[in-house]
């Protein structure tokens, strides 16, 4: 009799055993993460190439998007991050054993990334060293005195390797194997894509049909044309606005999390903060902007960062408190049976429980931060900012240009959101894989 019991149990064990690993490992095969990372790696690689190519950077549309000096290091960091995020899961899947071709691809990519990291972050372009070009030539605008011939030699060393690197990424990525993922994603997004295309076509058609004036509502084709002409400049100034949004986010959400941790200990305190939080939320940015401009000076980015910080502070703090107190009573009793100290309970129970709540708030705050940074520029500030650009263009009825700027702002917002989502995936893999199976 007992033998039957054991046999039945092993049957149960094997069926669950086969289902589970497929579910977890299949995450990368269910979403477009890998594809985004591969495309991102290619994009950032090309961007770095343009940055370190003085012959191209000011002469091409694409290159001039990266003129902003603070944007350049960010591109290299993004390249490194994308590459690591792409390769590590591949490494895990292959259980640490790569084929010689894969190792070769990895070496090429690693070498290229290292080259650009050293070139952009440390100002040492190795190709320039070999060709005898002074370092300054790589970062300055081309003039008549620039050693163009030497530069061409240096670029001759680097340029052929770029397509090789791209091929290496494609080789590691293997998009031809991911047809199923693409069809599934297409099915999921088909309705949205259809509606989007339909709206664009109707928009364009109706304006043509009824001869609606441009200044009331520009055609999508006109906006598109303005965008293509404008985007390098917009990307550059957008980066300034984004930095304000980013730092404001860091300070605001950081303070929100820290004070949330303190507030969660005193339940009546956190409940008492609620009316104050609501009251402050009811005050629009426009009221704070003039004050901040007066305090820090309109040209000082601190005036913009302060506004973003205030905007992002309360949602984060409230979510942190919510998350820290959402612990299930039985899980807490379990800790009591271990006679665990307060610090231990915090680290091992409250904090992991709070993480999903905190990340929900952080994701909402990414768009809040971007909007806050833009709107705060409306009331005075540097001219090299998206908010200033939008206000200026809208004021002059240059709506296609205004919409292009708004589109870039939305792109930066989406990019910020994706970065935080990536962080969430890294810290809370257990939650994501749990959610993805639809449980």
């Amino acid at each position: 009799m007992s033998n039957d019991v054991i046999k039945n149990d092993s049957l149960l064990r094997t069926t669950t055993l086969t289902a589970a690993p497929v579910a977890v490992a299949a995450f990368d095969n269910r979403t477009l993460t890998r594809d985004l990372l591969a495309l991102g790696t290619i994009f950032f690689f090309i961007a770095c190439y343009h940055i370190q190519n003085p012959l191209l950077i000011f002469n091409t549309q694409f290159g001039s998007a990266f003129r902003n000096a603070t944007l350049q290091p960010a591109m290299v960091v993004a390249l490194i991050a994308c590459l690591i995020a792409l390769v590590v899961p591949l490494w895990n899947e292959a259980h640490g054993k790569f084929s010689p071709l894969q190792i070769g691809a990895l070496v090429i990519l690693g070498g290229g990334t290292l080259f650009y990291a050293v070139a952009i972050l440390l100002d040492v372009n190795l190709a320039g060293v070999v060709a005898g070009v002074p370092q300054s030539a790589f970062t300055e605008r081309l003039t008549d005195e620039s050693p163009v011939a030497l530069l061409e030699n240096a670029m001759g060393l680097v340029t052929p390797l770029v397509p090789v690197a791209i091929l290496a990424v494609i080789f590691l990525w293997q998009p031809w194997r991911r047809g199923q993922v693409y069809t599934r994603a297409l099915n999921k997004q088909a309705a949205a894509l259809f509606v989007g295309v339909l709206v664009l076509l109707t928009w364009e058609g109706l304006i043509n049909l009824f001869q609606i004036q441009q200044f009331l509502l520009p055609k999508p084709s006109v906006i598109g044309a303005a965008f293509i002409e404008d985007y390098p400049r917009l990307v550059s100034i957008g980066w300034n606005t984004f930095q304000n949004a980013f730092w404001g986010f860091v300070f605001g959400c950081g303070a929100g999390i820290l004070t949330g941790i303190v507030a969660a200990r005193f339940v009546s305190f956190s409940r008492a903060l609620l009316p104050i939080a609501i009251g402050i939320n009811a005050v629009p940015i426009i009221a704070l902007a003039p004050i901040m401009n007066n305090w820090f000076g309109a040209l000082n980015p601190a005036s913009k960062i302060a506004i973003v910080a205030i905007l992002t502070y309360f949602p984060t703090m409230i979510s942190t408190v919510r998350g820290l107190t959402a612990v299930e009573p039985m899980s807490m009793e379990l800790m009591k049976t271990y006679a665990a100290g307060q610090m231990t309970i915090f680290r091992k129970l409250r904090l992991p429980t709070a993480l999903p709540f905190i990340f929900s708030a952080l994701k909402v705050c990414t768009t809040l931060a971007m909007i806050g940074a833009i709107v705060s520029e409306y009331f005075g500030g540097s001219t090299a900012g998206l908010g200033f650009r939008i206000r200026d263009d809208a004021g002059l009825f240059k709506y296609p240009e205004a919409w292009s700027a708004i589109f870039i702002a939305a792109l930066y917002g989406i990019f910020f959101y994706l970065v935080i989502s990536a962080l969430e995936r890294a810290l809370m893999a257990w939650h994501i894989s749990f959610r993805e199976t639809g449980r």
């Binding site: 039945n8 669950t16 899980s331 009793e333 800790m335 006679a339 091992k348 992991p352 257990w430």
Partner: protein, 260 residues
């Protein structure tokens, strides 16, 4: 036999939010010997879970005394003398199975290697060693509860307190878990188990004594000795004596209710 838990005239009254008083326990008198397997059984509201939680020092009694291992309940909890198994597995969803089992060992500051070895051993005991890197959501209810038992035993407590651990499982799985539990209990030397249940057959099958409780106010109406032979197995359920004992328990339960 060494008395490991002594309860003397213990009472517990709850006051609800509207000011009403609820007499959860009244004048409980009980001595549990070391190595016993004792069950609390009774209808809803009889206070069996409350009593278990008082022994675990998760709730404080209103009056009466309680000694666990010769100490106060609070001291016994601080010394980690017992392991508690809840009605739900209460696994932490952000930890893998093996890290869930390691949780008490982490808190009790064992070294990394010790923890890993001990957790593996416990998972092997409940036959889930192949699942150590899975997450709780990937396991069935019965398997999660087995992990919960492994976790409770990880630090080798002398006492195991179980609050309707198999209540959410179906009959077949429950019988299998009962056998597992008996096997584990005999492996751990001199371990005392206090088991709360509302299943008569489960109580009789597992225990050496069954404590029958009745509600409003919660008190012990009878304690029945179960002298079925050990080791027990599925064939025990076919014995005449088993049927007689379950009938006795059933009658005692009915009496406790009708006397309200």
């Amino acid at each position: 036999m060494i008395p490991i838990i002594t309860i003397d005239t213990l009472s517990k009254t709850f006051r609800s939010a509207d000011g009403d008083e609820v007499r959860a326990l009244d004048g409980i008198q009980l001595t549990v010997e070391q190595g016993e397997f004792i069950s609390f059984i009774g209808p809803s509201g009889c206070g069996k879970s409350t009593l278990l939680r008082i022994i675990a020092d998760l709730i404080q009694p209103t009056s009466g005394t309680l000694r666990v291992n010769g100490k106060s309940a609070e001291q016994a909890r601080k010394d980690r003398d017992y392991g508690f198994v809840f009605q739900n597995a209460t696994l932490y969803e952000w930890r893998t199975i093996i890290k869930n089992v390691e949780l008490p060992l982490e808190i009790m500051k064992h070294s990394k290697d010790e923890r890993r070895a001990r957790a593996r051993e416990m998972l092997r005991l409940v036959e889930l060693d192949d699942f150590e890197d899975r997450y709780p959501w990937q396991l069935s209810g019965g398997m999660q509860q087995r992990v919960s038992i492994a976790r409770a035993l990880a630090f080798e407590p002398g006492i195991l307190l179980m609050d309707e651990p198999f209540g959410a499982l179906d009959e077949m799985t429950r019988e299998r878990m009962n056998n597992e539990l008996l096997r584990i209990w005999t492996t751990m030397k001199d371990m005392t188990v206090i088991f709360v249940t509302h299943s008569i057959s489960e109580a009789v099958y597992l225990s050496s004594r069954v404590v029958i409780m009745s509600p409003r106010p919660g008190r012990i109406s009878e304690i029945i000795d179960i002298d079925l032979p050990r080791p027990r197995g599925p064939e025990t359920r076919d014995l005449d004596q088993f049927f007689q004992l379950t009938s006795r328990v059933r009658h005692s339960l009915r009496q406790g209710i009708t006397l309200e």
